[in-house]
């Protein structure tokens, strides 16, 4: 049986890297007595996969891990059991049974929502001008940036990967392409704008929170984004 767990990563837990988070969840499964399936072989491992690694320094309200179990309690019971063995900052918020044929969170993820803001000492001097010219910048059909790849650098047009972007009072909401086929990080968007404006994005200038992750259920090139948690059902 496939299960999808949605969880938060808040506060000091933003300093825990992806590999360590994976190890943490393996322990959580054992502590909470989740009847998780193990792989075959001499050193069996839990059947578990995460949607999309979150960078160190980012917080999130919408992280996902898929597991396979032999048996399970209800959503309410399992959330209580899992959260009883978590640490401050990491909380499971959904526990859904997936259809048997469902694709993994990792293969399905297509987009992410981010809320970003500047840390106090890094805020733009003139918020209004910043927001007006940023909006203008986004009117471009193409935004070319240099992206680091395994083989060096290459030029990428990131404009098609920005699905939406709203600028509020010291807050930028973005919906960006995420996943294996196209992946865009929020700092990259802000950096592209500042580069074009002849400014530099200081290291650590941004506070970034991932809000949720989406699958694209659209057909024929029409995007239809659905939160990964909606692809499963609560267990009564």
């Amino acid at each position: 049986m496939k299960i999808r767990i949605k969880f938060t990563k808040q506060g000091t837990m933003k300093f825990i890297g992806h590999l360590d988070l994976m190890r943490f969840f393996q322990k959580v499964m054992r502590k909470a007595d989740v009847d998780i399936c193990y792989s075959e072989g001499f050193s069996p491992h839990q059947i578990m996969s995460f949607a999309a690694p979150l960078g160190v320094g980012l917080t999130s309200l919408g992280e996902y891990v898929d597991i396979e179990v032999n048996s399970t309690g209800s959503t309410t019971e399992m959330l209580a059991r899992i959260n009883a063995v978590m640490v401050e900052g990491i909380t499971a918020t959904a526990y859904k049974k997936l259809p048997d044929h469902a694709g993994s969170a990792m293969s399905m993820v297509a987009a992410a929502d981010y809320t970003t803001s500047f840390r106090t000492e890094y805020e733009p001097e003139d918020g209004k001008t910043f927001s007006a010219s940023f909006k203008e910048f986004l009117e471009n059909d193409e935004i070319w940036v240099k992206k680091k790849t395994k083989k060096g650098e290459k030029d990428v047009n990131i404009r098609p990967m920005i699905y939406s972007l709203n600028i509020g009072t010291n807050k930028i909401l973005m919906q960006l392409a995420t996943g294996s086929s196209a992946n865009l990080k929020p700092e990259m968007v802000v950096r592209a704008y500042l580069d074009a404006a002849g400014q530099e994005l200081a290291e650590f200038a941004m506070l970034i929170q991932r809000e949720d992750l989406y699958a694209d259920l659209g057909m024929d090139g029409q995007r239809r984004l659905v939160p990964l948690s909606r692809l499963g059902e609560d267990i009564e």
Binding site: Q10, T12, K27, Q46, V56, E88, F204
Partner: protein
């Protein structure tokens, strides 16, 4: 949400920020304002090393069981953060509350190995606590040290307000109660130290004066005020089942050295190897009952979610109910994806059978610790392992599917000859030959691989070799080359590998291990000149140390290459560690005559540890 001592900018620009944020599973959270005593428990090395040590976790839990105490953890910041903290003048903090260590009542530092001594000074310095006890004010924490190196605390004497000699569970409650009492009546630091100094096991270095002969050896070592005893006696728990082990081990986020449940099955050792400090100072051997261990194994695996459990002791094969314990662990947990690791096992039919059940034979290697290359020298050091037993064990292992063997040796042991050194290569060759003799060609899975490593011998206090001369760096390396060259002559040279430890580091360890109070100045000078993380070979700078010895006018050879006379007063002689000097002298003489001493279960050798009233000394005598 918890507040951190370090800003996001700092945490995101250093390696492994998770070392400094706390919040691990089973971290104890209390309101610091609601307790009487705040205790900062420090392991003076990096987080991953410190968190792998069970001793501080036992004490962490024990202290926090008291409602009036909040015990928190402190580790050495890694060199990257160390630089930032100095630059920005950020005081060292505890992981739990993230409060400055300087605001605590106690700073307890565990002394596990000599090469961490400069890190102790780093911890004090970064905490903004004066390095020397005499310079501390009423508001500074009381700095207390404990652990194996407290059996010769003298090189550290000026930096500590007190030392705890023995097992932590024994008298810490009494010490904390004394502190509370003094605090309530508004007493001074000095008054507390006076009260503490009369508690068994507690040593207040400032209350003792040392005078020296012209040749540099100790003339007198005695209390400088009334009511202070000239001898400090170690404290131990006579029945280890009466104290709690760790019920809620902390579970780090990042991978640490011991990333598993560690179950201490017994304390002490019956073997009496003459080079081994632990085997002497932790006497007598005291076993936990099977029921105690089953209970803790289950509890700890359940509460940590760890996927591995390891048994810990100086010699696990000597645990009298090992078979029952291992069978229980396999039956109970193997099916639940839990690995079982069994270090320090003697290789025999039983252990091979167990290991084939709990490990992947193809991936694991077998370890033997003959410690010396010849039977003659093994008799000198009283290491009971015979060549016959090694070859038999290896043969059985090869039949069981293993083809990798590790052999551990020491070089520079007392009375060592060229034959003993070459014996390391010869024994390794014999192990390799055993593989080719025993296993028919068609059944071999590749070549056999024998890796021999040697460390250099360091004489330690409270061992029969405390009188022994240590080799110079040049002598050590010369011996390593003799072994290396002998390896080249071996028929199966291509199946053998030989490596050895760093000699510089060993010589310094030798000075610190048997050092006196005069060494403290060298320590401080070396630290001031940049020595830190000396146990990490990439951070060890021998030139800094050599310069520091020179600056302080201290001759290293006085501490290392000199064989002591039986009448010399040692810096640690004021400690009663249970084993008597008479016993150690007897053993030192027997070593010279290559006479072995039976282990505690075969025959009592009257070492003196019987007076602690428990353990192996009283087995079968109820």
């Amino acid at each position: 949400m918890r507040k951190l001592a370090l800003s996001d900018e700092i945490l995101l620009s250093i390696d492994k920020p998770a070392r400094y944020i706390g919040n691990e599973l089973n971290m104890v959270v209390k309101n610091p304002g609601m307790v009487d005593i705040r205790f900062a428990m420090c392991f003076p090395d990096v987080y991953e090393i410190g968190m792998s040590h069970m001793g501080i976790q036992i004490l962490y839990e024990m202290f926090n069981r008291r409602e009036d105490v909040y015990c928190e953890r402190v580790f050495s910041p890694w060199t990257d953060l160390d630089a930032v903290m100095r630059d920005k003048n950020i005081p060292l903090f505890s992981l739990e509350s993230q409060d400055p260590v300087k605001d605590f009542d106690f700073l307890g530092i565990t002394l596990q190995y000599e090469m961490c001594y400069t890190n102790i000074l780093q911890v004090l310095d970064l905490s903004h606590i004066p390095l020397r006890s005499k310079d501390r004010s009423e508001t500074d924490p009381i700095v207390i040290g404990g652990g194996p190196c407290a059996y010769n605390p003298e090189p550290l004497a000026p930096f500590f307000d007190l030392f705890y000699i023995g097992e932590g569970e024994a008298v810490y409650d009494e010490l904390l109660d004394a502190y509370k009492k003094i605090k309530q009546i508004g007493g001074s630091r000095e008054e507390f130290l006076m009260l503490a100094a009369v508690i068994p096991g507690i040593y207040v270095p400032a209350f003792y004066d040392v005078t020296y002969h012209d040749d540099g050896t100790i003339d007198t070592f005695r209390p400088n005020r009334k009511g202070i005893l000239p001898i400090v006696k170690k404290v131990v728990i006579s029945d280890v089942d009466t104290v709690k082990y760790i019920e809620k081990p902390l579970v780090p986020f990042i991978k640490v050295t011991q990333d598993r449940v560690v179950l201490e099955i017994q304390r002490g050792c019956i073997r009496g190897c003459r080079f081994c400090q632990a085997g002497n100072v932790y006497r007598p051997l005291r076993e936990h009952s099977l029921e105690y261990l089953k209970d803790y194994a289950s509890k700890m695996l359940k509460i940590t979610g760890h996927e591995e459990i390891s048994l810990s002791s100086l010699s696990s094969s000597d645990y009298s109910q090992l078979q029952e314990l291992v069978t229980f662990l396999i039956d109970e947990f193997k099916g639940k994806g839990v690995n079982i690791s069994l270090p320090s096992l003697r290789i025999d039919a039983f252990s091979l059978d167990v290991m084939s059940k709990v490990q992947d034979v193809k991936k694991s290697s077998l370890t033997f610790a003959p410690e010396a290359g010849s039977q003659r020298l093994r008799d000198v050091i009283n290491k009971g392992l015979t060549e016959e037993a090694i070859i038999r064990g290896a043969a059985e292992a090869f039949h069981g599917g293993w083809n990798r063997v590790k052999l551990y040796f020491m070089l520079g042991l007392p009375t060592e000859t060229v034959e003993d050194m070459e014996g390391i290569a010869l024994l390794s060759e014999k192990v390799a030959e055993t593989y080719y003799d025993e296993i028919p060609k068609e059944q071999r899975r590749g070549k056999v691989q024998v890796v021999a490593s040697s460390s250099f011998f360091v004489p330690k206090p409270f061992t029969p070799f405390q009188w022994a001369a240590m080799c110079t760096k040049e002598e050590f390396l010369e011996r390593a080359y003799i072994v290396k060259n002998k390896f080249r002559e071996m028929l199966n040279f291509k199946s053998l590998k030989y490596n050895w430890h760093e000699a510089d580091l060993t010589v310094l360890e030798g000075v610190l291990a048997r050092g006196d109070r005069k060494i403290a100045d060298v320590l401080e000078e070396a630290y001031r000149q940049g020595a830190l993380y000396d146990s990490w070979s990439e951070h060890f700078h021998n030139d800094i140390w050599l310069k520091a010895f020179e600056t302080c006018g201290i001759n290293m050879d006085f501490y290392t290459t000199r064989e002591r006379s039986l009448t010399e007063t040692f810096p640690w002689d004021f400690i009663d560690a249970g084993v008597t000097k008479e016993f150690l002298i007897r053993e030192w003489k027997l070593a010279g005559r290559q006479v072995v001493t039976p282990n505690c279960r075969q025959q009592c050798s009257g070492c003196g540890a019987k007076e602690f009233g428990g353990g192996v000394c009283y087995e079968d005598k109820n």
